[in-house]
Each structure stands twice: as structure tokens, then as C-alpha cells.
């Protein structure tokens, strides 16, 4: 119960992030401003003055213009002197209107002229861009601007930064500016040794990539003491980076584990309770994923909410299909597990081909709701993608719900009774056939929900289920049949093991090694990690 509370809190804590992603303001600019005409007329030597006037006039609305100009992609149409942006390079050059972004496919190279730029102007542009960004009202934009500057610090920029450092209220931005100042101070040879050393010390707890690059350069400094200090700082930074890389790996392992968990708990129920190997389980996942796709097709304007419709819909579609399969095929093959395996495999082929005929064999793209896209940045070297984080929480939530269902509900009681002793349960008046159908429907429905989650991570295609079926069997077998806790532990163990092996062995070899490990493990403990005990075991 506690765990559920924690989960709710976690989800609650994550939701605000969704707001930040939506907020990308669009500033409208008068593309007919007279100052802009100046750009096409003024001589190169007088351009800096024009730039300053433009900055005063439009501020951050002209930011894209300055950027395009700096990159040398700013052109104007000779006939009407309107500004255009060059896209692409080489032979495939196209143009689009500077501010509206409208494509101008008819425009030929001969009809436009480049707005010239030289080194002096570039420096000017850079500092103007920096100034605009650094004075932005959004603190995250300011921070990003400072971070961007780390790689190209020069005297002009430092001057601006020093001024800002005093005024800045936001602590994060202030720290970032301090880092930039220290980085410049450390690399500036005109500073005294003690100033440089203390600057390096300040830098040693920064994780910024550019700081590391700067320090690496400093290790070759002519001043021996500075070089040694830089080396030391670099070592301590790298240690921290490695630690975070480990956390990152762990996160990916947990993420894979959550996917495996989702894919395999449905199987754990059908296999554990009914002793039925459902080879069509993967196709139940696939059906869930396609349900998500169809739901999104039906409500194209409400993608953000579609997932809340898709989850129950997928549960129903896959669950009903499961009940259908159970009633039509599996119940007639009772007590013949190998035949059941073959029959359900046949069903999986039929379902795959059905989907291929209806939706075409090509992969379908399911779009991610905006509140699930993006990532949670913890620090420069560690950022957790939101969709994986949500799926991790979702998997645990589904798991809890299932455990509660089996432990507290009357259906759960019946299911457990049947799984422990079918004949005795029957004698006690449990309708085993009904329980079988419900169990199978439940297991399949959960597979459908897993499909919704998977559709957010991978492409949705007819073979989606197949690629997970063997892995999920491994999870169930590894964890011990008929034991949900075992499935949980096994899923996360295998997920983490896979991701930790990957860097040293490569993804494919890691998968193989894990498979081989399980094969060997089953030899040692045929009943899995957590075997059922007592009479229920045999």
C-alpha cells in the first residue's frame, strides 16, 4: 500500500514538467520594419550600427534573424528586398521567408543575394545574441544561453557575463555564470597563478561538457601547477561523470525491466494459474498497441488524452480476444499443455496475418502525448526520458493493482484456489471454467495494456509481439511460475543485467548471454527463483 502512495506522489511530482514543454512562445515580428530594409542596403563597415539598432528595436524577436545571419544563411530577394533564409546545402538549396517560415519553392538562386557577414560582424552578432538570451525572462533560457557560451568565451562575452552575475537572482543561472567566469579566469594566462588555481578548484564540481574540454586543454598548460590542478579537477569530475553514467545505465535497465514486467505479468497469470502456455500472448500485446493507434486515429485532436482512452480500450480488446480464445480453443485442450502451445501458436499466426491484412505490414507510428515527451534533466550528464519514467511507474502501478486484485477480490480468491488445487476448488463449488476464462481474459487484457505502453517506446508493427514473447517467457520461468513477486524481481534483474552487459559486449551479445544464463539457471533450479512450496508445487 505504501508503495502505491509513493507512486502516486511520484506521478504527481512529474506532472508539472509537462507544462514547461508547452511553453514555447511565438513572437510576431513586423517583417516590413524599415530597419530590416537597411540590412539589404548598408555597407558592411556600417553594419554593426544597424545590428545595434535592430537589437534595440526588436530584442528577442530578431533572435532567429541574428542566428541565421551568423550562420551565413541570410539572403534577400533582389526584386522586393524581402529577407529569406537559405535551407539545406549543396545542390538541394531551398528558401523560406525569414520570419513566417513559409516555404518559397519558386525562388531560384539567381534571384537572391546574400546579406554579407565578416568576422567583425560575427563577433558583434554573437555578443548581441548572447545579450538577448541572457536577458530573457525565462530563467531556463538564460541558463541555456550561458551554457552555450561556455565553449566560446571571449572578452566581450565575459564583460556581459560579469555584469549579469551581479544582477542575477536565480541561483542556478548565477552558478552557471560563475562557472563560465571561472572557466575563463582559469584559462586566461594573464591572470596570476593563484587566481587560476582557485578558478580551477571552483570548476572541479561542474559537470558541464565544455568545462571538461576546457580543463583538458589546461592540462597541457605551460604553467606546471595549473596543469597539475586541472588534471586533478578532471579526475574528480570524471569520477562523478562515471557515477552518473552508472545511474543512467541503471535507469535504462529499470526501464527495460518495466517493459519486460508489463509484457510478462499477463503471461505469469495465465501460465502460473492455468498452466497454459499462451504463445499468442505477444499478439495480445500487439493488439493493445494497435488499439492505441486506432484510438489516436479516431481522436486526432486530443492526442494528449488519447492514452487514457487507449488503456481501457486495449484492456477490453485484448481481454475479450483472450476470453474468446479460451472458450473456443484452450478449454477443449485442457490438460494437454503441449497441444495448447501449438494451438495458441496457430492463433498467434492468424492474428499477426489479420493485422497485416487490415493495417498493412508496415510499421505504424503512434505519437507520444506532449506531457510524456521530453526528458527530466537532473544535471548535464544525467537526463531521464519522461516516457520511460512514466512507463516504469505505470508498470509498477499495474503490478500493484494486479497483486491487490488477486489478494483482495473474490475473483482473486477463486483464481488462487484454482491454481492451488483445481479439483478441490471445483468440489467447493468454484466454477473453474468461468475462472479459467476470466483469468485468461485478465492476463490477455494486461498484455493489451502492455501494448499501450510499448507503443510509446517502439514502432507498432505486426511483429511487435513476437519480439517480446521469448523474453517474457524467460522472465516468467526465471522468476518461478505462479509467483507474481518472482516475475517482478526477474523482470528487473534481467533488464538491469542486460543493460549493464551491453556496454562491454554489445546489445546482441548481451541478449544472448542473458538467454544462456537463464538456460543454465533453469538447469540448476528448474522451478525458478521463487518456486512454489508445499502441495501446490507439484
Amino acid at each position: 500500500m505504501n508503495a502505491i502512495l509513493t507512486l502516486c506522489l511520484l506521478i504527481g511530482a512529474l506532472l508539472p514538467f509537462s507544462v514547461a514543454h508547452a511553453a514555447t512562445g511565438e513572437a510576431t515580428v513586423q517583417s516590413g520594419s524599415p530597419m530590416l530594409l537597411e540590412l539589404t542596403k548598408t555597407k558592411l563597415s556600417k553594419m554593426p550600427a544597424v545590428v545595434e539598432k535592430l537589437e534595440a528595436e526588436g530584442g528577442d524577436a530578431y533572435l532567429p534573424l541574428f542566428r541565421t545571419w551568423l550562420a551565413g544563411n541570410l539572403y534577400y530577394v533582389k526584386s522586393n528586398r524581402s529577407l529569406v533564409e537559405k535551407m539545406g546545402s549543396g545542390k538541394q538549396v531551398t528558401f523560406q521567408a525569414m520570419f513566417s517560415g513559409d516555404p518559397m519553392p519558386d525562388l531560384k538562386k539567381k534571384q537572391v543575394k546574400k546579406v554579407k557577414v565578416n568576422n567583425k560582424l560575427r563577433g558583434k552578432l554573437r555578443s548581441v545574441i548572447a545579450r538577448i538570451q541572457l536577458t530573457s525572462e525565462d530563467s531556463s533560457v538564460r541558463e541555456a544561453a550561458v551554457r552555450e557560451l561556455l565553449a566560446k568565451l571571449d572578452k566581450n562575452v565575459i564583460g556581459i557575463l560579469e555584469g549579469l552575475h551581479v544582477k542575477e537572482q536565480n541561483l542556478d543561472v548565477k552558478a552557471m555564470i560563475a562557472t563560465a567566469l571561472s572557466l575563463y579566469a582559469a584559462s586566461d594566462k594573464s591572470n596570476s597563478q593563484s587566481v587560476r588555481l582557485s578558478a580551477i578548484e571552483d570548476l572541479s564540481d561542474s559537470l558541464e561538457n565544455d568545462v571538461r574540454n576546457g580543463l583538458t586543454k589546461l592540462t597541457n598548460d605551460s604553467n606546471k601547477a595549473v596543469a597539475a590542478a586541472a588534471d586533478e579537477a578532471l579526475v574528480s569530475i570524471n569520477q562523478r561523470v562515471e557515477r552518473y553514467a552508472l545511474v543512467d545505465q541503471l535507469f535504462f535497465g529499470l526501464s527495460l525491466g518495466s517493459v519486460l514486467l508489463l509484457a510478462s505479468i499477463g503471461l505469469a497469470i495465465t501460465f502460473g494459474v492455468m498452466g497454459v502456455i499462451n504463445m499468442a500472448h505477444g499478439e495480445m500485446i500487439m493488439l493493445g498497441a494497435y488499439t492505441t493507434y486506432v484510438v489516436q486515429l479516431m481522436m486526432p485532436n486530443h492526442i494528449d488524452y488519447s492514452i487514457w482512452v487507449a488503456i481501457p480500450a486495449a484492456f477490453l480488446v485484448s481481454g475479450l480476444m483472450g476470453v474468446l480464445i479460451e472458450r473456443l480453443v484452450i478449454c477443449r485442450l485442457h490438460g494437454r499443455p503441449l497441444e495448447t502451445l501449438l494451438a495458441t501458436f496457430g492463433i498467434s499466426l492468424i492474428l499477426q496475418q489479420l493485422v497485416r491484412t487490415i493495417f498493412s505490414p508496415l510499421n505504424r507510428q503512434v505519437s507520444t502525448p506532449t506531457w510524456m515527451s521530453g526528458s527530466l534533466e537532473i544535471n548535464p550528464v544525467l537526463s531521464l526520458t519522461l516516457n520511460r519514467l512514466y512507463i516504469l511507474a505505470f508498470a509498477l502501478l499495474v503490478f500493484m493493482a494486479l497483486v491487490l486484485l488477486l489478494k483482495k477480490s473474490s475473483l482473486g480468491l477463486n483464481v488462487r484456489a484454482v491454481s492451488q488445487n483445481r479439483n478441490m476448488a471445483k468440489a467447493m463449488g468454484v466454477k473453474t471454467e468461468w475462472v479459467d476464462a476470466m483469468t485468461f481474459g485478465l492476463g490477455s487484457g494486461i498484455a493489451g495494456i502492455a501494448g499501450v505502453a510499448l507503443s510509446q517506446l517502439t514502432n507498432v508493427g505486426p511483429n511487435l509481439g513476437q519480439s517480446y514473447i521469448i523474453d517474457s517467457f524467460m522472465v516468467v520461468v526465471f522468476g518461478g511460475v505462479g509467483n507474481l513477486m518472482g516475475t517482478l524481481v526477474a523482470a528487473f534483474t534481467l533488464g538491469i543485467a542486460n543493460k549493464f552487459l551491453e556496454p562491454t559486449t554489445g546489445a546482441v551479445l548481451a541478449a544472448i548471454l542473458v538467454l544462456v544464463f537463464i538456460i543454465l539457471f533453469i538447469q540448476k533450479r528448474p522451478k525458478g527463483l521463487f518456486p512454489q512450496k508445499g502441495r501446490a508445487a507439484e
Binding site: 502456455i277 480453443v329 477443449r332 485442450l333 499443455p337 503441449l338 497441444e339 495448447t340 502451445l341 501449438l342 494451438a343 501458436f345 496457430g346 492463433i347 498467434s348 499466426l349 492468424i350 492474428l351 499477426q352 496475418q353 489479420l354 497485416r356 491484412t357 513476437q466 521469448i470 517467457f473 524467460m474 520461468v477 546482441v508 551479445l509 541478449a511 544472448i512 538467454l515 544462456v516 537463464i518 538456460i519 543454465l520 533453469i522 538447469q523 540448476k524 528448474p526
Partner: protein
Amino acid sequence: MIKLLNWFSAGRTSGKYTLPFVVILLSITVLASAANLLLPQDSALYVSTYSITLLGKYLCYAMLALAVDIIWGYCGILSLGHGAFFALGGYAMGMYLMRQIGDRGVYGNPLLPDFMVFLDWKELPWFWLGMDQFWFAMVMAVLVPGLLAFVFGWLAFRSRVTGVYLSIMTQALTYALLLAFFRNEMGFGGNNGLTDFKEILGFDLQADTTRVSLFLITAILLAVILMLSQRILSSRLGKVTLAVRDSEARTRFIGYRTECYKVWLFVYSAVIAGVAGALYVPQVGIINPGEFSPINSIEIVIWVAVGGRGTLIGAIIGALLVNYAKTRFTAIMPDGWLFALGALFVLVTLYLPKGLMGLYGQLTSKRLTKGEQEAAS
């Protein structure tokens, strides 16, 4: 109970059909070969080389089905990974054929196959050494699947992994091999596999005579293996395996070391699959990791189920029929085949648990009982 007894006896008495079946099989092969080589192309009875190759392929599949039937029908071990042994045998043959190309490859390297030159390898990996010798490659085609089956079987049967667990483990085995062989670094040609073969033992692989010979050899080997397996399975050892299938625990309590019997039979079956693979590759002209895919292995099981498990001839007939149906189906309506195959899985397990041979047995026994009734009245 009587039904059950009937079923078991049907499994055992099918031995009397073996010899006639072999005679029919061999005479058809000889006739088809003669029709290909001796008759002119415009003759009505002419059998095209394409058909010969296709038939040869079917016979390889039949041999593979036989291998699965031996362990599934007679020992109750449902292997969903027999495609792995088949593919390993095939790769051994493929490596030999690859070495025979010599400097006729695209890059003209006398020692290294094209894909290794492409990967910028400087010398032959150790496991390719000796593969230019036919006898060595053939030993490997038998030894590697056998050894894998031995190690796997020894580990699995000793720790008494049975039933669906074992099936899933075998599937995982072939899946792991599939992943492994897809890797370029493995040195087996990655996902392109081995192809572009030129000749076998100096004979041109494209020549009609070579193709017909391969077809004949396959048929003869199939017949030999069928008779050998029939002999083995009706011997004392076969009786014990049947006992293991029907009640392993009881057999063990009587004093048999059931795992030894199972391992032995598993290895025997894997070797047959390896031989089938080795015969398959020169006829089809390619071997790639796709052969390891779990779905291939599971398809073999359905051949056996259609024909009737526990009857060696049934497995062969099932493999031939299903594959013929597959060829026809994929030609007429490519999308329909998987529907048909899926339906076959479901219908056969539901309504034809003993396969076509069982159906035949049912029909004949019905006629018998009818006759008896008439005689009695």
C-alpha cells in the same frame, strides 16, 4: 481405455508400412529423376529441374520432421528448437561450399570468402580451418548439432526439465543462436548468410545431373534413416523410450536411467536434423540465420502433428503435404498462407490429435469393427 490401447498399438504396428513406403518413395524418386534426365524438355512427362530441386527440398524437410517425430512422438520431448540443429548442419555444408568458391568470388581472394574480405579480415578464423575438406565438413555437420544436443540435453534432462519448460528452453536456444548468427563478427556472413555457391566435390551445382544426384541422395538417405529409426524404436531401447513418454516417473522407479535414454535419443534426432540441413543447403543454394528463427522450428512440429506423431511415416507425409500446400498457397495467394498455417495448427490440435495417420487408423479400425459385427451376426 480401449481407445487408448488402440492408439498405442497404432504407433507400434506402423512398422509394417515402412517397407512399402520406402519402396514407393524410392521408385517415385527414380522415376522423377529419369523423367528429368532422359525425357526431352517438351515431353508431357518431363519433370523440370526446378521441380526436382523443390522435391529435394521437401525431402530434406521430411527428414527434419522425422527427427522431430522421433523425440516428440516416441519420447514426449517437444523440441521447438530443432531448426537450430538443421541450420548448424546447413552452415557446416555452407562453409564447405563457400571454400569451394575459391578465387571466383567478387573480390577474387583465393582464401577468404567475399564477406570476410568485405569486413576487411586478414585471415581465416580458426573454425573455418579444414572446412575445405568435404569429409571434415560432413563430420562437422553431424558432430556440431550432436554435440550441442548432447550438452543441452545432458543439462536439461539431468535436472529433469520437462514439458513446456523444456519446449521454451529449446526455443530460447534457437533464438539465442539466431541472434548470434546475425552478428557479422561471428564470421558466418551475418544476416546475408552464405550463398553464391559454385560447385560441390567438383560438380557444378547448377547442372541438372548434380541436382538430380543430390535429390537421389536425399531420398536414399531418408529411406535409410527411416528404416534405421524404425529398427531402433522397435528395439528394447525404443520400448524404454515409449515408457518414458507415457510415464517417466514410473520408468525411473522401475530402474531405468531415463535421462540417458532421453539424451541419446535427443542427440540421434539432432544428428538427423543436421544431416537434413547439410543436404538442404546445396539444393537451395543459400543458408542464412533466418533458418534459426523460432517460427521455423515450430513449423516443423506442425508437419509432424499433421502427419501424426509417433508414426515415422506420418511425419514424412505431413512434411511433404504441408510444404506442398505452402508452395501452392504462396503462389496463389501469398497473404493466405499464414492464415492457413495458423488454422492448421488450431484444427489439427483440436480435431486431429493423431494426425492423418491416426485418421487412417481410425477409419480402418472402424471398418474392421464393422466387419466383425457383420461376421458375428
